[in-house]
Symmetry: C2
C-alpha cells in the first residue's frame, strides 16, 4: 500500500541517520526495517515472546532413516516438560513462555500445564507405502496450529519441533515445493554416518516417486502426502501469526519446511518470518536460498526444538533497540560523511 | 597441565551426555569447553560483564584514508558518554557497565564519570613519515591497558574502539604480524568507494615500506611503528584480562589486530579470547584465519565500538547455561543413540 511505502521510506531515513556509517549495522538494519513494517510503526516494540514446540511422530521412522529410536520423541517431550532440554534453558534465559503441543506423538501423554493436547493421530503413516496423513488430517493440523497461536499473548512467536525422523518429511517437502533434488535435500539429521545417509537417500527417493506431484499444484495435498503433523501445525501457526502481524522466529530445517508450506498457501506470510539459523543440514541451505533468506546465525546447530530461534532472539531485540534508542547525527552533533 | 587435561575430559563428557545428539549445539559446545577451561570449572559462571571502549586518533588520517573527518572521534566519544551510540544501546540491553578510555584522542576531553583519562598523546604521528609512536609510548599504552582491566570487577570483559582511520594501523599490523599482503589486508573501513580504497592501499603500501620489519622480530617495535594508542592499550588490556583468567570478548577488525599484538607478546592469551564477529572488512577474514578463530557472528557489521562483541554476548551466556542447566541422558531418562 501507499501507506506502507511511505512508512518504509521513513524507516530507512531513520536507520540511515543514526550515528554510524551507512549500513554499518549490517543485517540488523534490514531486520529493524522488517520489524517496523510488520508492526506498521517507526518504533517497533516487542513484548511477551512465546515459544511453542510442536511434537509428533513419523511412520517413516520404521524405515530406519533416523539415528535415534522413535521412543525418543516422547522421552524428549517429557524432558521439555520437566525443564531439562536445551530449549528450556534458552527460553528461561530469554524470558520466553514455553508450551509443548502434542501434534501427533505416538503415545498417550499425561496431562501437564505446559502441554497442549492437539493430537491428530498416533504419528503419521509410513509415507513409503501411503499418504502420511489424509487431506482432512492435514487441514485439521493446519487449523490446530492457527488456534494455538490465536490463544497466545504477545507479538512475537518462536516455533520449534520435536519428532524423530522429521528431517525426512522436511526433505521431501523441500524437494516437492522447490524442485530441489531429493538427494541434495536429504542430510544427516541428528548424525547419520555415510551408509545410513545413503540408505535415507534411497528411502526418500522411493518415497517421493510413490507420490506423484499434484496437478494442478495443491499445497495441502502435498502436505498430506509427504508431511508431518508438527510441520503442518507449525505452518498453520505461521499463517495465523502473520495474519495477526506478529513477528515469527523461524528455527532450522524443519521450521523452514513449514515456512515453505505456509508460503505456498499464502505468499504474504514471508514478510513476517525472521530466519534465525542456517544449520549444517544440506537441504537447509537450498531451502533458505529458495526463500531468499539470509539467516541471523550460523552456529552449526542441528538440534531443532526451536533452539536456533531463541539463540537469535537477542539480535532481534537489538535491531528494535538501535532503531528506538540510538542518537541521530543531528541530535548528537556528529559530522556526517 | 595434567589437571587441565583431566578437566577437559570431564567437560567433554558433560557436554556429550546432555540430552541432544552429539555435537548438536555446534559452536556453543566448543565455547562451553573454552569457558570451563578459562575458569577451571565444570560449571563456569559469568558475572559483572564490563565493556571498555578505547578511543584514539591517528596521524595517518591526514593522508585521507578514512571516509570521515578526524573530528568524528571526539564527537563519537561525546555521543558514547551521552548514551546515544550503538554500543550504549547494546550495553544497556545486556547489562554491561561501559567505560570509555581516552587512549590518545587529539583533543582535550572534559571530565566525565564514564571517561578514563589515559591519554598517551594527542593522537599518533603520521606513520607515513615516522613511527606512529615512540617505544616508550607503546609500552606506556600497553601498561595503561593493563591497569584499566586490573581495576575492573567481574570475570568477563569486552573491548571496543573508536578512532577515525584506525583500520589503517590494523591493516598494517595484520600485514606485518601475519605476512598477509598489504593490499589484501586493506579494506573499505567505514565506507570508502573504489578510488578511495585504491588511494588507501597506495598509502598503506608506502607506509609499510617506510618501516622495515624488525629483526629479530620485536612486537613492541612493530606496534610503535605501525600501531595506534587504542590498539596498544587494548592489547595490554587483553594480556591483563587473560592473566586474571577473565573471558575476553573480541570485537571486529581493530580488536583482532590488538589480539595479534597480544598474542605476539604472550601466545597463551589466545585461550582466553572469544572471537565474536567476522566483519565484511577484507583483512578480517585473513586475520581470523591466522588465529584459527571461528567467530560466533557474521552480521556484516562494520561499526566497531565493540558492537560485535556485545551482540554475541547472549551466545556466550547460552553456552554456559546449557552446560550448567541441561539434563543429561541419564537424569532425563532419554535413550542414547
Amino acid at each position: 500500500t501507499t501507506a506502507d511505502l511511505a512508512l518504509e521510506a521513513r524507516l530507512r531515513h531513520k536507520i540511515d541517520h543514526k550515528t554510524k556509517p551507512l549500513g554499518a549495522l549490517g543485517l540488523l538494519e534490514a531486520l529493524a526495517l522488517q520489524l517496523g513494517l510488520i508492526q506498521r510503526s517507526e518504533s517497533p516494540a516487542l513484548h511477551s515472546p512465546q515459544m511453542v514446540v510442536f511434537a509428533a511422530d513419523h511412520g517413516i521412522a520404521a524405515e530406519g532413516v533416523s539415528a535415534y529410536p522413535q521412543a525418543v520423541t516422547v522421552q524428549m517431550v517429557g524432558n521439555m516438560l520437566a525443564g531439562g532440554a536445551a530449549i528450556n534453558v534458552f527460553a528461561r534465559q530469554h524470558g520466553f513462555a514455553l508450551q509443548v503441543v502434542d501434534a501427533g506423538v505416538a503415545a498417550e501423554l499425561p496431562a501437564h500445564p505446559q502441554l497442549q493436547p492437539r493430537k491428530i493421530a498416533m504419528g503419521t503413516k509410513n509415507l513409503c507405502a501411503e499418504a502420511a496423513m489424509s487431506r482432512a488430517e492435514a487441514q485439521a493440523a493446519l487449523a490446530a496450529g492457527m488456534q494455538t497461536v490465536a490463544a497466545l499473548p504477545g507479538n512475537v512467536v518462536a516455533f520449534g519441533e520435536m519428532g524423530i525422523a522429521n528431517t525426512s518429511p522436511a526433505a521431501l517437502l523441500l524437494a516437492r515445493l522447490t524442485g530441489a533434488g531429493i538427494i541434495d535435500a536429504t542430510g544427516r539429521g541428528t548424525g547419520l554416518d555415510d551408509p545410513q545417509l545413503l540408505h535415507k537417500q534411497a528411502v526418500l527417493t522411493r518415497a517421493l516417486a510413490r507420490h506423484p506431484a499434484t496437478e494442478p499444484f495443491d499445497a495441502v495435498g502435498e502436505l498430506a502426502a509427504l508431511g508431518g503433523f508438527e510441520i503442518a501445525m507449525m505452518a498453520g501457526a505461521m499463517l495465523q501469526a502473520a495474519s495477526e502481524r506478529r513477528v515469527v522466529l523461524v528455527d532450522g530445517f524443519i521450521a523452514g519446511a513449514a515456512a515453505l508450506v505456509a508460503q505456498a498457501l499464502a505468499p504474504a506470510v514471508r514478510d513476517y518470518l525472521v530466519f534465525c539459523h542456517r544449520s549444517a543440514e544440506t537441504g537447509h541451505r537450498l531451502l533458505l536460498a529458495h526463500l531468499q533468506a539470509k539467516p541471523l546465525l550460523e552456529l552449526d546447530l542441528r538440534l531443532g526444538e526451536g533452539t536456533g530461534a531463541l539463540l537469535a532472539w537477542p539480535l532481534v531485540q537489538s535491531a528494535a533497540n538501535f532503531l528506538n534508542e540510538m542518537a541521530s547525527f543531528e541530535s548528537a552533533g556528529v559530522s556526517e560523511k
